[in-house]
């Protein structure tokens, strides 16, 4: 779930960690009651500051994705379908924004991108 955490990215590590968890919940890979790794275990696995993991878990709790049970750990909450769909849409938007930015840097037009997307996916995409 956390394989592609990138410390060099301008997105703070706690945001990256929280985003991965939200996406896993949205995709159904994590369900209600599932335990997240302990702060210590995740800090150790990712070799990041434990405070970074704490911050990520706190943000997830504030968003209603997880529950922090004192002394027991962090557990995934029941998340309504519409929230999960919103999360997926938000992630899709983010991917597209990155793609558009990179394309602009290379001088590639939106039409060219659309054509490439059609070819790659074999699906005719139009508005």
């Amino acid at each position: 779930m956390f394989d592609d955490i990138d410390p060099r990215s301008p997105t703070p590590l706690y945001e990256q960690i929280a985003a991965r968890v939200r996406m896993s919940v949205a995709a159904g890979d994590l369900g209600p009651g599932d335990a997240l790794p302990s702060v210590r275990a995740l800090a150790r696995d990712l070799r990041v500051n434990p405070a970074t993991v704490v911050q990520a878990y706190r943000d997830l709790a504030a968003d209603g994705f997880v529950e922090l049970r004192h002394g027991q750990g962090t557990f995934v909450q029941e998340v309504p379908t519409f929230v999960r769909e919103e999360e997926r849409a938000a992630q899709a938007t983010k991917l597209v924004r990155t793609l558009l930015q990179d394309a602009a840097r290379l001088g590639i037009s939106v039409e060219e991108l659309a054509r490439a997307l059609n070819v790659e996916t074999g699906v005719e995409i139009r508005e």
């Binding site: 410390p7 990215s9 702060v39 800090a43 150790r44 070799r47 990041v48 500051n49 970074t52």
Partner: protein, 302 residues
């Protein structure tokens, strides 16, 4: 006590040309503070002053709320220090060195020292004179952690260690911090390593502290931007321009700016400058650009 280390207007001179000037530095309690700077910038000198091993000519130093060097014995009882050069005895074995070191510390955790020794794969019967750099590095971290310090002061603790050992040593450190919320003041040349674990950054250059910021603020505040129609003297930008480089084409330039925030994009409309792109820099690039500009150079580089 909000600062584990607090240095105020510290000055120190070696007699030669090198000096530390007007150094004010603050390591917040509970932070992992990455201390960066090129060789000879004064990192080790600063660390040695904070450990009471050099007395500043001017200024005050407080560590864990106590006066340094006056209260140094009390401070040292609560600080795990990994110096630049190993302070272990070549003639001793690992077991003997650990026992010797333990005798100085009331809070010494022998159980944890044994566990660390096993986890790090140290042989207790091995003589220190026969140990590799990696093994010595592991031993130094073991000694610093087993005294259960409130503050760890680590001067290049992973310098010259191979990636596997480095990972073991850092994991031991992070485990300890997870458990205790200890403060860590760590210098390293391995910028990407610090980028992962630190939440504060201080950068030294030529005996001065050039910047001290939360990691995220430091990283997000330095950008490379591409502009068109750049005037010779831009009208009071809300950010600091560290450097300018001309590109091909009239008025096209690359700027490195500091103190950037995204709403500052609006400045360019008002100033009649075209903003073409804002590129993120990672810690290493930001660090290099900052040092390049902290030295007296003309504003344009070729």
């Amino acid at each position: 006590m909000n600062s584990a280390i607090e240095m105020t207007d510290v000055a120190w001179r070696a007699g030669g040309s090198f000096e530390v000037k007007d150094l004010s530095l603050r390591v917040p309690t509970g932070s992992i503070y990455g201390f960066l700077g090129p060789n000879g910038s004064g990192k080790t000198t600063t660390i040695r002053m904070s450990m009471g091993m050099l007395k500043p000519d001017r200024g005050t130093i407080r560590v864990l709320g106590r006066d340094v060097p006056r209260d140094m014995p009390k401070v040292l009882a609560r600080v795990g220090y990994v110096p630049e050069r190993p302070h272990v005895y070549p003639a001793l074995t690992v077991r003997e060195q650990v026992r010797f070191h333990a005798s100085f510390f009331r809070l010494w955790d022998a159980g944890w020292a044994d566990e660390l020794s096993e986890r790090l794969g140290l042989d207790p019967e091995r003589r220190i004179s026969r140990m590799s750099k990696g093994e010595t590095g592991k031993l130094l971290m073991l000694l610093a952690l087993s005294q259960r310090p409130d503050l760890l002061v680590l001067d290049e603790p992973t310098d010259g260690l191979d990636p596997v050992v480095r990972r073991d040593v850092l994991t031991a450190l992070l485990d300890y911090v997870s458990e205790t919320n200890a403060t860590v003041f760590i210098s390293s040349h391995l910028v990407h390593e610090l980028e992962r674990i630190c939440d504060w950054v201080g950068v030294m250059d030529d005996g001065r502290l050039v910047v001290e910021l939360p990691m995220q603020a430091f990283k997000n505040g330095i950008k490379r931007i591409k502009v068109a129609d750049a005037p010779a003297v831009p009208e009071e930008p809300p950010f600091t321009i560290l450097s300018r480089e001309r590109l091909n084409g009239a008025g096209s330039e690359t700027w490195i700016v500091r103190g950037w925030q995204d709403p500052m994009r609006h400045y360019f409309d008002g100033a009649g400058i075209g903003l073409r792109d804002v590129v993120d820099l990672d810690l290493e690039e930001g660090f290099v650009e900052l040092l390049r500009s902290s030295r007296p150079t003309p504003p344009y580089r070729s």
